[in-house]
């Protein structure tokens, strides 16, 4: 019998090792797996490379992971928020390296990594500072940049519901990077509000098929980052 459930967020991230590459889902707070990130902070791992669209807000979730100096590099499209000074300080001090990637290139690099495509050509970024040093190819009269697929050891993702086989549904715009990160990581961990038995989700509605998911963990009432920040919560 297949059952991908784990009983705690701590168990879900227990085997993340120092120096690991971790994809973290979310666009701003939508889809940010706050409880899994907090479990990663508790676990103590260091020297991480984090692949995520943003760098968190306030001092909870992803921003807290950064603030605890667990992240040596971020691969990211928009590492700026109105209400967090955590990443700017780490970046300016040189503690955390930044690889800035246009958002669509970031998404496609993740998708490619999960799809067995080692690299691809894209028109995005040609003639800009983010294209400098990259291989250029002219195809049908237009210039393209060579970009490489991204892989990770772990992906931490937030969904709405899952079944015991790891099939996942999402909530609205919280889907964002979840489905492609699940594909691109060796071990994909998805926190959802409820888990049902295999067979209870309509196969026609599955967004992420269970083959891409290693572990599911039920977090019945996930925290919303903006509410934690508004309440002045910091983690740990």
């Amino acid at each position: 019998m297949i059952d991908k459930r784990v009983s705690s967020a701590a168990e879900a991230v227990a085997d993340v090792r120092d120096g690991a590459t971790v994809m973290i889902g979310g666009f701003g707070e939508a889809g940010s797996p706050v409880e899994l990130i907090h479990a990663l902070i508790d676990q103590g791992v260091r020297g991480l490379t984090v692949i995520s669209n943003n760098t968190g807000s306030g001092e909870v979730g992803l921003a807290a992971l950064l603030k605890e100096k667990r992240v040596s590099k971020v691969i990211c499209s928009f590492p700026r928020t109105a209400n967090s000074t955590v990443f700017p300080e780490l970046y300016r001090s040189g503690f955390t390296e930044l690889e800035l990637v246009p958002q669509g290139t970031l998404a496609e690099r993740i998708r490619a990594g999960g799809a067995g495509i080692p690299a691809f050509f894209t028109p995005t970024g040609v003639g800009t500072p983010l294209g400098e040093g990259k291989e250029l190819r002219t195809i049908d009269g237009r210039e393209y940049l060579l970009e490489y697929g991204l892989h990770a050891d772990f992906a931490l993702i937030k969904g709405r519901a899952a079944d015991t086989h790891g099939n996942v549904l999402y909530n609205k715009t919280a889907r964002n990077f979840g489905p492609i990160m699940a594909m691109a990581a060796k071990t994909s961990v998805v926190q959802v509000e409820h888990i049902v038995a295999a067979g209870e989700l309509d196969p026609e509605t599955i967004v992420t098929p269970g083959i891409f998911v290693s572990r599911v963990i039920e977090i019945a009432k996930p925290a919303h980052e903006s509410e934690l920040v508004a309440a002045g919560v910091t983690y740990p």
Binding site: V101, P102, G104, G125, P129, R175, G178, E227
Partner: protein
Amino acid sequence: MTTEASTIGWTRDEMAQRLALDIANGLYVNLGIGIPELVAKHVPEGRTLIYHTENGLLGMGPSPRDGDGDPELINAGKRQVSANPGAAYFHHADSFSMIRGGHLDLSVLGALQVAQNGDLANWSTGEPDAIPAVGGAMDLVAGVKMVYVITQHTTKTGEPKLVESCTYPLTGRGVVDRIYTDLAVIDVTPDGFQVVELGPGVEFETVKAQTGAPLRPAP
């Protein structure tokens, strides 16, 4: 110059209204953060546009009233929005396939500078201490069929934003089709900037004086 600017030309809302007039019914449109967002308020009666937000929604609707929103239903500016009837959610690779694959009709963006050949700079002033952040702008200008820029004609200090060549880091090369400023609507043509329409009370010579590249009058 500031006194003059406040009495002639278009306000921000009027700029957005002028731009909205040029969007045909049924187009798939991505509006950037800031003045571009105002365009949605001014779409003429009888036209329906389908708004794309790159974080995974086609059919974006207005922001809900306080307390009615969902923190997981947001736009690219991370503000809470709604989903109109007929909306669809999708993941980021699909979203940027819509953008890069040329499926979206129009992208409306702000600008730091636009060059006479259509180069756009809108993501970084290149200051060494700034935190670089690019988001989806480079993908939008590389892939969307038409790119309209909406911006004040000059910077707050009166420097031209329409220039011979951009001094700020580029977002894309030769990507801008048309510019809507407080003073004029201007096309980027193979021969450079060309006025399409002057704002109310605006003389061609006034626009020319505030443009950092050759400017041709409306034909």
